[in-house]
């Protein structure tokens, strides 16, 4: 298949889909056998990105694939199109989200320990409903609190490919030589840990829930545990 033809199909697909498309999904467009290989597809994507250089759109790779998006620099021009302003999120929600992002898997109690204040059910519900956060298991302590982790939808929304793309956390300075430093949290996101949690979590006690289905691209469906008290009534 001609290079130009591949590019044409890929562009149309990205614009038609309205959501990021993974390389696998793009590859599916061409059928199993005779389609272009991944290298050819990447070339087409590169070519598209090049085409958009002087345009108001750009090709962006995020966690769940590629999407064509309007460049941030165009936002000012397009203000009249925004009838509703984008939702604003409270500091409490953003702080909770960032704790989940950097410290996942983390329980509500652990978030509260750091923030020094209660995390409302409302915040957790909003994060779950937005699909930014999911429950990846339960900590084996009394009450078996749910552990939260971020989703690929979260990365997509904030234009990131992986958790490593999160802005780095600042260092903690130590007050005295001994004592204080112990038990310092790890700085980097523990994505692998989450993955293994999800794997291990296929046990019978891990119930299923609609939250996973919300995320069709989420390979962990079936591991999410219902939070009856958090579900919207």
């Amino acid at each position: 298949m001609e290079h130009i033809e591949i590019k044409k199909i890929v562009e149309a697909a990205l614009l038609a889909a309205g959501c990021p498309l993974s390389l696998d999904k793009i590859s599916e467009l061409f059928g199993k056998r005779s389609g272009p290989d991944r290298k050819a597809l990447r070339e087409a994507l590169d070519a598209l990105a090049g085409d958009y250089e002087d345009r108001g759109i750009e090709l962006k790779e995020v966690a769940s694939g590629y999407r064509i998006q309007i460049k941030g620099s165009m936002a000012d021009w397009l203000v009249p199109l925004w009838e509703e302003r984008a939702p604003r999120y409270s500091r409490a929600l953003l702080e909770t989200l960032s704790l989940i992002a950097y410290r996942q898997p983390i329980t509500r109690g652990e978030i509260e320990d750091v923030r020094g204040v209660a995390v409302t059910t409302n915040i957790i519900r909003t994060l779950l409903e937005r699909g930014w956060v999911k429950i990846v298991g339960h900590r084996d302590v009394p009450g078996r609190p749910a552990m939260f982790a971020t989703t690929s939808d979260f990365l997509d929304y904030f234009g990131m490919k992986k958790l490593d793309d999160l802005p780095p956390l600042s260092e903690i300075k130590e007050l005295v030589v001994d004592g204080v430093g112990s038990g310092l949290p790890q700085v980097s996101p523990q994505a692998d840990l989450i993955d293994s949690l999800e794997q291990n979590n296929k046990g019978p006690e891990s119930l299923t829930d609609g939250a996973a289905e919300r995320n069709s691209s989420d390979k962990s469906s079936g591991t999410v545990i219902p939070l009856t008290n958090l579900e919207p009534s």
Binding site: G72, A75, A101, R115, F158, L175, V180
Partner: protein
């Protein structure tokens, strides 16, 4: 007058310029050598004036802008440019308690965490006042250490949340580009099935049936059952078939045997009939019931 930052828009930044009596930030000279905690339209703003009259409602808004006691403490510390590792605990405690009291005075519904923190501060203060021997000095850490750690820990996530908030994000900063799709061909996929699933289903159904009824499955070669189906199909289009037509010599002895067993089984199940007019006449076979040929069958049936 707005603050150009979408992060931690402390209410007093709105409060100071709007609250009566108006305080002009431009004109105010810092009474202490404090670091500015905010910049309002280019002018540094260093402190909430002490005798400032604050309408109760405005104060509520101000207090609501804090995400809990750690946030309030951090504010007090940062406002005075205090080293977080060397907090003047007595002074900070005094200021903190002042805020707390102010809150209760205006019947602000105070979250329990604020009171817990007040107690914690008081406790640290008292521990600081205790005379400490050299020995203890070595064994015990600074009473403020835990607080300093918590404050920093909270502060880094507060900062991180500001950074996350600043990331270019969908809806607010970038929009997914999309084009209208007029013709949407939807193909519903058929479910997949594995042989394993099928076999396990059979195992289940057999196990169940043997439990309930006294049904027992004979161990008949499947090839015979398959051939039975084939013969039925073959006979479907015919009124009568020649018995010999049901055998294919090319299949060899095994194949012929399978066909013969199939015919016997079909006969046993009364699915076919075998007819022979006279000894040594050709043998004919037909299906016991053939809806397609029913009408014709009655006419052409040999006498």
């Amino acid at each position: 007058m707005t603050i150009d930052s979408n992060q931690s828009d402390k209410a007093e930044l709105r409060l100071v310029p709007t609250g009566p009596p108006p305080v002009s930030s431009e004109g105010s000279t810092p009474s202490q050598s404090e670091m500015p905690f905010a910049v309002v339209e280019g002018e540094p703003l260093t402190e909430l004036p002490r005798d400032l009259y604050i309408p109760p409602h405005a104060l509520e808004v101000f207090l609501e802008a804090f995400e809990g006691p750690l946030d309030l403490l951090l504010y007090l510390i940062r406002r005075q440019n205090i080293d977080i590792l060397d907090i003047p605990i007595a002074e900070i405690t005094r200021q903190y308690v002042e805020y707390i009291e102010l809150m209760s005075e205006i019947q602000f519904e105070l979250a329990g965490e604020y009171l817990v923190m007040a107690a914690t501060l008081a406790e640290i203060k008292s521990r600081m006042l205790l005379p400490r021997s050299e020995e203890m000095e070595n064994e015990e850490e600074d009473p403020r250490a835990e607080l300093a750690r918590r404050l920093q820990e909270y502060e880094r996530f507060k900062a991180a949340s500001d950074e996350i908030n600043a990331l270019e994000r969908l809806e607010r900063d970038v929009i997914q580009a999309s084009a209208e799709v007029l013709e949407r061909k939807v193909i519903t996929k058929l479910p997949d099935l594995t042989l394993k699933e099928l076999i396990l289903s059979f195992k289940d159904v057999v196990a169940r049936s043997e439990q309930f009824a006294n049904l027992h499955f004979e161990r008949e070669p499947l090839s015979v059952r398959e051939r039975m189906s084939e013969i039925l199909v073959k006979l479907e289009s015919k009124v009568f078939a020649d018995f010999t037509d049901l055998f294919d010599p090319k299949e060899g002895r095994m194949g012929v045997t399978v066909s013969f067993l199939a015919i016997l089984e079909l006969l046993r199940e009364a699915l076919i009939e075998v007819v022979q007019q006279d000894p040594y006449d050709p043998i004919h076979v037909r299906v016991s019931y053939n809806p397609k040929l029913e009408k014709n069958a009655t006419k052409t049936e040999p006498a």
